[in-house]
């Protein structure tokens, strides 16, 4: 099993990594814990699974891409 994990913007800088791989997880929460060595997630953390918004309880599967990022500020 392999799940690609990405971090963006201020979260990428504070964690000191832009991407990593998680070998075994069934939920987004588990992905976060494994990818960040159980860092405390920010209150305003956003997450996407396979390019769609998801939440920390969302299920993940082999081959998924999970992205974590802060509130968006485009436009």
């Amino acid at each position: 099993m392999s799940i690609q994990v990405k971090f963006f913007a201020s979260l990428r800088e504070s964690l000191g990594q832009s991407e990593t791989t998680v070998e075994q997880a069934s939920t987004v929460t588990e992905v976060w814990d494994l990818a960040t060595q159980s860092a405390t997630p920010p209150n305003n953390l956003l997450v996407a699974v396979n390019l769609d918004y998801a939440n920390m309880q969302s299920q993940v599967n082999d081959g998924d891409e999970v992205a974590f990022f802060p509130p968006v500020t485009g436009g």
């Binding site: 990405k6 963006f8 913007a9 201020s10 996407a48 390019l51 918004y53 992205a67 990022f69 802060p70 509130p71 968006v72 500020t73 485009g74 436009g75």
Partner: protein
Amino acid sequence: MATHILDEDFQPYQWLSEFSQQMPAGRDGAAASFIGTMRDYNDDATVRTMTLEHYPAMTQRYLEQLEKQAKTDWPLNDCLIVHRVGEVFPGEAIVLIGCWSAHRRAALDACNWLIEELKYKAPFWKKEQNQSGERWVESNTDGL
């Protein structure tokens, strides 16, 4: 319908003109547009440049989903979204939204909905560079 993510300066009025020239003459009775440009100040600080980061695959997909949703919710004849990424300077355009319809209400309401949705959900992030260093913009203004 069209979405474009550009990594260099663009001229929004030129884009509107060229895009609308491709449309059938006489089809649209209304066109509404929104253009967002970079200010040289924010929270009482002078901003010299700004860097726009994004999540490329999700951004493109999300903007296309927004366009499809707008065309489902309003009787739009056409729609255009253009957004900058990379280094932006004061006065340069950041975002352009254009909506065309038979009557004004659909174009105006869809344009307003699109910019609000984009600002709160499309995965772009601004980092400002000013005289004392740089800082991430933490949130967008609340529809002001």
